[in-house]
Every structure is written in structure tokens, then in C-alpha cells.
């Protein structure tokens, strides 16, 4: 079953002044449990595509359906709630809330969902343990390394059990050890939790671990390969 259906998506920035065609009629289907990388050079439209899938931006034309729901039919507030409940985000620069501890950051989205305290604690403790941060739970982001912060960000994205996780260049600021470590964790969570991962990246280390690689150039999909890994 597809968690994501993209049909004829186009995105044009500055349509009235100097039009920039970021995406040109993209079609894409993603099934549950995929571990997919969207790759391509800078300016190819990777981040734009991820923003549109995440409901952070609206396409100029085309349709994006997540679990059968057309994002264009959702109001601004409904879209925020939809993101909160169905999509996990991992950003290039971690984007943890600096005044909250690792545990508080990890359970932040669940707090927004008003999940019971016991459920939050159990889930976050389990995930932080799985990513090897059980002894860093009460540390603030500034007391953690980049790799540790990104692991907290992954736990934050995963804790509310979203349909899939969108990760925009998640390893861009990490060294090779941290990258390998993070990829191991994400691959394991993908297998164990069954959550779909969709990356935008041009990091070969990520591409090498992806089971499907979608290549974008000039706003169009130029290749779509599946690997048995």
C-alpha cells in the first residue's frame, strides 16, 4: 500500500516576476516501510519536494496524497495537525529546542498531541535507550555532540509513531562515525518500527544504505532505482 502518491507536482517560485521552476511535473509513489533517498545536485529540487510532501509548502500544480488524503484539501491549522500526527521531520541542523533537555525535546511532539505522561515517558525512554542516549537524557542540546543531537532529533520524529519520516540532509553536519551510527539507527528503526524513511541527500554514505534511490535533476525525476540491501 502506498503511503505517498505524488501526481504531476510542479512548483514555480516568483511566478509573477522571475519564474523559477523548482519542480516540473513530478510523479512518485512511496510504499510503507521504504528506506528511500532522493538525490541530486544542489538546486535539483530535493528540498522543495520534501517541503511539499511535508505540507510545509503548497505546489503550484499537481496533487500530493498521504494515506489517501489530498494535502490541498487541508486548512492551514489542519495541515499543522496533520504534520504533527503523521509526519516526522529530521533537519540538517538538528533544530532541537535549546531550552529543553534531550528527553523533553524527544517527547515534545507527543506533548503537542496531548499524549498521557506515562505513554510519553515509556516511549521516549525506550527510543533514547535504543539510540544509545540513555545517559544523556537530561542534557541540553548544547551539552550534546552533533551526532547525539541528530539522534535526539530522530527520536523526536519517531516518538509519536508517524506514517513516515522526512529527513532533509540529515548527515550533512556529521562526521563519518556519527553518520554511520545514525544510519545504523535509522535502518534498524525502519526495520523494527516499520516506519517509512524518505531522505533528501547528496551524501554517498546515505545513498549507499538506501534501498531505493530517486534521482532528481532540474526539477524532474531522471532515475528511480531499487536495491536489495
Amino acid at each position: 500500500m502506498n503511503v505517498l502518491d505524488i501526481t504531476g507536482v510542479t512548483k514555480v517560485y516568483n511566478p509573477d516576476t522571475v519564474p523559477v521552476h523548482a519542480l516540473r511535473g513530478v510523479d512518485l509513489e512511496v510504499s510503507a516501510g521504504e528506506f528511500t533517498a532522493i538525490v541530486g545536485p544542489s538546486g535539483s529540487g530535493k528540498t522543495t519536494l520534501l517541503n511539499l510532501i511535508g505540507g510545509l509548502d503548497r505546489p503550484t500544480a499537481g496533487q500530493i496524497r498521504i494515506n489517501g488524503i489530498d494535502l490541498a484539501t487541508l486548512s492551514a491549522n489542519k495541515l499543522i495537525d496533520f504534520r504533527r500526527d503523521h509526519i516526522g521531520f529530521v533537519f540538517q541542523s538538528y533544530n532541537l529546542i535549546p531550552v529543553l533537555t534531550a528527553r523533553e525535546n524527544a517527547e515534545f511532539v507527543m506533548l503537542l498531541q496531548k499524549r498521557p505522561r506515562a505513554e510519553r515517558e515509556a516511549r521516549v525512554t525506550q527510543l533514547l535507550r535504543e539510540v544509545g542516549l540513555e545517559d544523556r537524557m537530561d542534557y541540553r542540546p548544547t551539552q550534546l555532540s552533533g551526532g547525539q543531537q541528530q539522534r535526539v532529533a530522530v527520536v523526536r520524529a519517531l516518538a509519536p509513531r508517524p506514517r513516515f519520516i522526512l529527513a532533509d540532509e540529515p548527515t550533512a553536519n556529521l562526521d563519518s562515525v556519527s553518520t554511520a551510527n545514525l544510519l545504523d539507527i535509522m535502518a534498524r528503526l525502519n526495520r523494527e518500527e516499520g516506519v517509512t524513511f524518505l531522505f533528501s541527500t547528496h551524501d554517498q554514505r546515505v545513498i549507499d544504505r538506501a534501498r531505493r534511490v530517486v534521482r532528481l535533476e532540474d526539477g524532474q525525476i531522471v532515475s528511480d532505482e531499487v536495491f536489495d540491501r
Partner: protein
Amino acid sequence: MRTLVVLAWRNIWRNKRRTWITAASIFFAVLLSTLMVSIQKGAWDRMEESVVNYYFGYVQIHGRGYWEDRSIDRAFAETDSLRRLVEEIPGVETTVPRLESFALAAHGERTLGVMAVGIDPEREHAMTRLRERLVQGSYFEDDEEAVLVAEGMAERLDIQAGDTLVLLSQGYHGVNAAGKYVVKGLIHFGSPELNRLMVYLPLPVAQYFYGADGLITSIALKVTEKDDVPQILATLQQRLDTTRYEVMDWHQMMPELVEARAVDTAGNYLMLLILYLIVSFGIFGTILMMTAERTYEFGVLVAIGMRRLQLSVEVWLEVLFIALLGTLLGFLASFPLVYYFHRHPIDLSGSPEMAETYAQFGFEPVFPAAFEPMVFLGQAIVVFIITSVLALYPFWKIGRLQPVTAMRH
């Protein structure tokens, strides 16, 4: 909500220096405005108390039309039934009869226009504590041919207790009034005007002097609670024959005092407005910086599922916490200061020039601070309103925030 409170509280300490600077501006505004309002209110309360409690009373009954022309010809008799009718009204503690008119007072070569008032010494003391305000000599013992003179007037006429004062006036229906009286004592009034004007005689002596046997010009009422005045006034107007009598509260008798206070208070509010305007710009600067430097973070929060309203409330709480911090510190500093000036009023009587200047405006040169919860609460409400209004900016800004654009910051 708890999450928003925790977030807001921790966020304000991300930039400690900015928080303390903003809180300090609110602290000084609260301190200055509390002190200013307390002293202004205290000074006016004291003046009203001097005039109302020490002489006029909160309510008076006169013969119809008396207050307009102050003519002794509108005098009336205080019958037992009239006195009973008034004293039976709930909230009226006692009544004080007076026979008042203007006279010329002379001692030696000096003369002065005065208010010569006939009083029942015991009933007058029950309301205005007249006996306690003697600064020289002694109080009336019976209906003796003597006068009590206001201290300021005594100074102008250069008289002491034991001297003789001559009074000349026009009595009831044009009768010539003239008399020579021993000065029994000198009285101090808080109000500089009363301190210049007042001469007291026992009521029968004044009635004889004015040729108004058995008559009075006013009945002043001592009331238990100031707040009961409107009710008492309404009851009196129902029960009294309004074709013969008029009933007035102190606002009607002294509109100039009420107006002067209103004008002075308005001036004070203008000062406070300027003060708070300056503080508002300080707070607004903080809000501007807070929202500008955290646009990226706001974008991330909205992206991961925080509603714009939740985010706006969180930022509003941050501003509110800084304001509360400044206000609380302002209270902590102003409480002892205001209390000190409440117990030890600013006294300018040591400087005759200053004292004279204030006397011209009807003020005693002593300024106590009013120590009232409403003064402090008022400042807290003002700060809360300012904060809430200024917080509309982040509400507006966050309401228009697009996560993608914000995350490009």
C-alpha cells in the same frame, strides 16, 4: 499549557542580560509611578480630609438657596423633629448645627475678613475633633462670650489666647452685628484656607451676635461610611421638605476642589503615560529582537506540529514573565518606600516660601503617600495591558509565518 509555561520561562533566560534590562525598565516605571500616584493621592486625600472631615462634613442641610448666596437671611430653626428625622437615617452618626456668616475681625490696627461660625461645642467636637486641634489656650466650657481663632488668622492679626477680638458684620435681615470677645484658644486647620478664615463662637453667642435667635444656617452630617453618602443624600431628599431645605454632598459644595483634583490627576496620568510610553518602547524593542532572531526556530516549531496560536501564546507568556518580574521587583522596592512616606510624610513646612506657594493652591505643605492596595494593583493592571497590547505584534507576526520562508532565515 504547562509545556508553554515551562518553555516561556526557560526561554526568557536564554538572553539573561536582555531580560534583566527589560525587567529593570519596568521596575523603574513601576517604582516611579507607584510613588507618584501614592503621593499625589495621599496629598489630595489629606486635603479632602482636612476640608471635609475637619469642617464641611460629607453632607450638609441648608435653608433652600443658602449655598448659592450664603445669606444668613436663609437661616432656619433646628427643631427636635428635624434633628430626629435626620439622625434616624441609617449611616448618619451625628448632626452638627452651625450658624455661619462672614464678618470683619479686628485686633489693634489690623483687620481681616473671616468666617464667624456659631457652633454647639460638644456636637462640633464629636464630628470635627475641634478640641484636639487646639494649639494654644482652651476649648469652650459653656456658652461663654469667647472665640476660638484659626492659627493662620491669629498670625495675621497678631493675636494670642487671652487677647480681645472685635467682630463686625451684617446680621439676620440687616441687623447690625458687633461684638467684642476674648480669644479662648487658637486652632490649627490642615487646610490653609480654613486656617486663614475660621472664627468659632458658641452657638447662642453667635445667634445673639447675628440677631438670629434660635436659628442656624446649616446642619453638617457625620456619616459612618463615606460610601453611604449617595444613599443618605437620596433618603434626605425624599424625607425633607425640599421647598424649605436643600441637601448637598461635599462634591456639590466644593466643585472647585473636585475639579482641581481631577485636573491634577489628569496631569499626573499624562506623566504616567509618558513614562509608560518610554517603557513600552523598551519592551517592544525586546519583542522585536525576540521575534526577529528566532524566526527560524518558530518555523521549525510550526513545521513539527506546533499551532501558531500555541506559539504566539508562548511568546506572549515570555513577555508577560519579563513584565511580571519587573513589576514584582518594582512592588518589592516601592512597598517599603511608599510605606515610609505614608508614615513619614514629605514635610516642606520648613521652607516658608514653599509652604506659602502650596498654601496658595490650598495645600498644606505636607505630603503623605497613600498606602493602598489599589495603587499597586493599578500599576500591575497597566503593565499587564501594555504587555498584552505589545504582544499583539508576535501574534500578528507568527500568524503570518510560513515555515519554509521562516526556515530560510
